[in-house]
């Protein structure tokens, strides 16, 4: 409400300013300043305003950054996310440096070289040495960034071929998500959109033996330190699996399967403690415009420790209707991975 009042006040202020300017204009006109030529007074004022803007702007930038950086996502809850964050930090240093140097030069020069009728501009059409230097420096810096960036990228994307991962399917449709666990065999049963019906929302092929132990859930549970391969599909339009706390995003595209490999590294409980917020939950958002309720299309994500995970998994029913009965360690690969 206060902001709204602020808004109205600002509007009135603007209108008042516009009025005042008109009046100033008319008086200038009457007092004989009879052209739109730029005067020395204009130059001094506008030049100085450039400097003022630089100062105020820098304060605004620093203040906003300080004030709002607390909202930035917390430390990454996945292993590869840590590498992404490191790369990001290097980039921050780089771009803030460039930002401050160039903006300061720009506005300081804009102030310093404002018009002065006793002076003439210097005729400097080029300077090959300088131009060479400022071409070669960005080239080297960017070369470094390319190499560093691609190293991280390759590490993240090559991991898809790891054989030790637990496979989980994420399936998007207007406007919700379903997860399908591959069960004991760690192989998802085949699926086909022609088989979709009310009882079989993902179109899983019930004749495929691999499908028998598949488990469908509406809440994504991940096991801590468990290499996980997301296998992603969509039913109707493009959606996107976005799990910002894990630095993870991959589109869900009708007609094809996409993948993302990652290792969750902080449990929900630990993260709650970190953030001092016992209501915190990880979340999966849809991040590709997909229709009217796009902005509500989400799924809760929970990272469990070994025991919590086993307990949760025990409660789930597999695709052919029987509960995952026996053990505390329903997925055999996970035993390998947790060593």
């Amino acid at each position: 409400m206060i902001t709204f009042l602020g808004l109205i006040v600002t509007i009135l202020v603007i209108i008042a300013i516009a009025r005042i300017v008109r009046i100033l204009e008319l008086t200038a006109y009457l007092s004989g300043e009879n052209s739109e030529r730029i005067t020395e007074k204009n130059n001094n004022l506008q030049g100085t305003l450039n400097l003022v803007f630089l100062f105020v702007g820098m304060i605004f930038i620093v203040f906003t950054t300080w004030r709002y950086s607390r909202f930035i996502l917390p430390v990454s809850a996945s292993k590869h996310g840590v590498q992404i964050d490191n790369l990001m930090n290097v980039n921050y240093v780089l771009i803030f440096t460039v930002f401050f140097i160039t903006q300061i030069l720009l506005f300081v020069f804009a102030f310093k070289y404002r018009h002065n009728k006793n002076r003439r501009a210097e005729f400097i059409p080029e300077n090959h040495k300088l131009e060479f230097v400022w071409t070669i420096i960005p080239t080297i810096v960017l070369g470094g960034m390319i190499v560093y960036g691609l190293t991280v990228w390759n590490r993240i994307t090559n991991a898809v071929s790891n054989k030790d991962a637990q496979v989980i399917e994420l399936y998007g449709k207007q406007f919700d998500w379903t997860a399908r666990y591959a069960g004991k065999d760690n192989t998802l049963g085949k699926a086909n959109f022609l088989k979709i019906n009310i009882n079989n929302p993902l179109g899983v092929d019930s004749l495929d033996p691999n499908a028998k132990d598949d488990i469908l859930v509406k809440e994504l549970h991940l096991k801590i330190n468990q290499p996980t391969l997301l296998s992603i599909r969509a039913q109707d339009v493009i959606h996107s699996v976005y799990m910002p706390h894990f630095r993870l995003q991959m589109n869900a595209v009708p007609g094809m399967t996409t993948q993302f490999y990652f290792v969750p590294s902080i449990t929900t409980d630990e993260m709650r403690k970190n953030l001092n917020n016992d209501k915190f939950d990880y979340v999966l958002l849809c991040n590709k415009i997909c229709g009217m309720a796009h902005y509500t299309m989400k799924m809760k994500v929970v990272v469990d420790d070994e025991n919590q995970y086993a307990e949760w998994m025990n409660k789930q029913k597999s695709f052919d209707g029987t509960a995952v009965a026996d053990n505390t360690n329903p997925i055999k690969v996970s035993a390998v991975a947790s060593k």
Binding site: T3, F4, T10, I11, I14, A18, V21, N34, E36, I38, F53, I61, F71, I72, L87, F99, T102, Q103, L105, L106, F107, Y113, R114, H115, R120, A121, F123, I124, P125, E126, N127, E131, P138, L142, I146, L150, W153, I156, F193, L194, D236, V237, I238, H245, R247, Q249, M250, N251, V253, P254, G255, M256, F280, D281, I289, C290, M292, H294, Y295, K298
Partner: protein, 602 residues
């Protein structure tokens, strides 16, 4: 057409102004004169820009105060804002049409259409465009396309609402979202008209620059504006046909049951009979236009900035050849970076690496341009016209928005910020605001050339400072929303507890947005007031070197009453040591400037 041919040949100096009377219709409406067409583009673009701005202010209200109701919205948008609450589907329509209008109608049609038309013939010394008739068609295609797009907002099912990128299947299936019905059809019709306009205009610009330069106007004596407009036109000619192809295939999928982009879709209880298509194909085609498009938007603004900064600094543009070179490199690279919009589509990661490489390379010529601008101001003697302020503002935005491009172009980082508000912040600053500021700079600078009158400078200053502050106020904080994980194209963030803490940022942004919007009232008032009541302009109000200021203030058909002037030098002989004045127009031969020739003949 016949006397058009005369006009083009131009060397015969008979009076072009008097020998055919023009009716109201041929003079103001179906005009074939580049100067009139330029004004038509500008006024149309201003109207469209106001419309798009109104849309953005509407959805900023929604985003800033998601729990409030604004009854006056119902007055504007009718049943889409029942009781003052914006409908979520209509929100998406507004975002889509806002983006489309801004990118295509304001900053492509509006910017290139206005300034390429005005300046190409006047700055190269031509009587008119190569084909006045095609030029006229180009405007009327543009006008038609604006009308169709505007009408689509009034449809009962809503306008296109899949985002300005219209990715299928969402854009292909009316059952997926209301706006994908007739709304999308009109969007496509409008875009086809627009592509027609862009191609007719583009071919005309290139042909004119290549063939109709006056005597002495070699390519290396062209002002940087003309280089920028020409390169832009070439980009358009090479990329718009690809958008046309993409749109055409989409029309087939929508209306004739083909499966170019559609496969394995089950929607509303029905399995659709589409097999083997790929939605990703559309994205490749779209971004093959889409990325060059951002340079189609930006390069003319950079060209205008070069010209304005040099003139108002009373100093040659620093590194003229480097400026041309970097524009050419940027233009070339813009065709091989489109995949940076698709890092998380499941595209082959190796292909992704290639696009990272090419994308980050773009930063080099961009940096060179920034350094050249700063070096031009260095030791200049800056005359603070509103145009110069806007040009400086552009450079500031180009830096602020360009550096975040380094982050977005890095695929590993893009994983987490793709499609978030970080992207919205990035492209609004580097493309939206830069190009708009370039356009403002152009309007303030060439207004006397267009309308023979001056714009009020004091209002110009106010307009500049309020807008500059508000642009940073709106878009800088958006980076933090993105880094907090807020997706773009969300009607509200209320479904996520983690975003509750961001409500305040959103309100602050919205306040800045409203003030920015209101500041444009100052501009519009100034523009139309000055058009009729502004003070009469002198022939060369900025003491500029370029040819357009050698033509009389009153517009003549054919531009110059007598012979077209001959050009003897480059356009940037400002403050040449030894010269009497601080500028030497391009039409002054070296034989008349003995005292200053030692400083180099360009």
């Amino acid at each position: 057409m016949e006397n058009q041919a005369h006009v083009i040949n131009g060397h015969d100096a008979h009076g072009h102004d008097d020998h055919h009377e023009q009716s109201f219709w041929t003079k103001y409406v179906f005009s074939q004169d580049h100067k009139m067409i330029s004004k038509q583009f500008l006024v149309t673009a201003i109207v469209m820009a106001l419309l798009a701005m109104l849309m953005s202010m509407t959805f900023r209200l929604q985003l800033g105060w998601p729990d409030n109701k604004f009854p006056f919205l119902e007055k504007i948008w009718g049943h889409w804002a029942k009781g003052g609450k914006l409908d979520p589907t209509f929100y998406l329509s507004l975002v889509t049409i806002h983006g489309t209008i801004m990118v295509f109608f304001v900053l492509t049609g509006g910017l290139s259409g206005t300034f390429s038309n005005l300046l190409i013939p006047l700055q190269i010394g031509a009587r008119d465009m190569a084909s006045g008739f095609l030029n006229m068609l180009s405007y009327w295609f543009f006008f038609g396309s604006c009308c169709v797009m505007t009408i689509s907002v009034l449809l009962p099912d809503g306008a296109a609402s899949g985002g300005w990128t219209i990715y299928p299947p969402l854009s292909a299936l009316p059952q997926a979202i209301g706006g994908s019905g007739i709304g999308m059809t009109l969007w496509l019709v409008s875009m086809v008209l627009f592509i027609g306009s862009a191609l007719l205009g583009g071919i005309n610009y290139v042909v004119t620059v290549v063939n109709l330069r006056t005597k002495g106007m070699s390519m290396t004596r062209l002002p940087l504006t003309i280089w920028a407009f020409t390169i832009t036109a070439i980009l358009g000619i090479l990329s718009f046909p690809v958008l046309f192809a993409a749109a055409l295939l989409l029309v087939f999928d929508r209306s004739f049951g083909t499966s170019f982009y559609l496969s394995d879709i089950f929607i509303n209880g029905v399995a659709l009979d589409h097999h083997g298509g790929s939605p990703i194909l559309f994205q490749h085609l779209f971004w093959f236009l889409g990325h060059p498009e951002v340079y189609i938007v930006l390069l003319p603004a950079l060209g205008i900035t070069s010209e304005v900064i040099a003139t108002q600094s009373r100093k040659p543009i620093f590194g003229y050849k480097a400026m041309i070179g970097s524009m050419l490199v940027i233009a070339f690279l813009s065709f091989v970076v489109w995949g940076h919009h698709m890092f998380v589509t499941g595209m082959n990661p190796f292909l992704g690496s290639v696009f990272v490489f090419t994308t980050l390379l773009v930063a080099i010529p961009s940096a060179v341009k920034v350094f050249n601008y700063i070096a031009t101001i260095f030791k200049g003697n800056l005359v603070y016209s509103p145009a110069l302020l806007f040009a400086i503002g552009l450079v500031s935005f180009f830096i602020s928005g360009g550096i975040t491009g380094i982050i977005l172009g890095d695929s590993a980082l893009d994983i987490n910020i793709h499609d978030t508000y970080f992207v919205v912040a990035h492209f609004h600053i580097v493309m939206g605001s830069s190009a708009i500021f370039g356009m403002f700079a152009g309007v303030y600078h060439w207004f006397p050339r267009m309308f023979g009158r001056m714009m009020n400078k004091t209002l110009g200053y106010w307009h500049f400072w309020i807008t500059l502050i508000c642009v940073y106020g709106v878009f800088f904080p958006m980076h933090f929303l993105g880094l907090a994980g807020v997706p773009r194209r969300y009607y509200a963030n209320t479904a996520y507890d983690q975003f509750d803490q961001l409500v305040n940022i959103n309100s602050v942004i919205s306040v800045f947005a409203m003030v920015a919007g209101l500041a444009q009232v100052i501009f519009v008032a100034n523009f139309f007031y000055s058009m009729f009541r502004g003070r009469k302009a002198e022939q060369n109000p900025w003491n500029s070197n370029t040819l357009e200021w050698t033509a009389p203030v009153e517009h003549l058909h054919g531009n110059w009453p007598g012979e077209i002037p001959t050009v003897y030098r480059w356009p940037y002989d400002y403050s040449k040591p030894g010269a009497a004045e601080d500028f030497i127009p391009q039409t002054v031969p070296f034989s008349q400037t003995e005292s200053s020739n030692a400083a180099g003949m360009h």
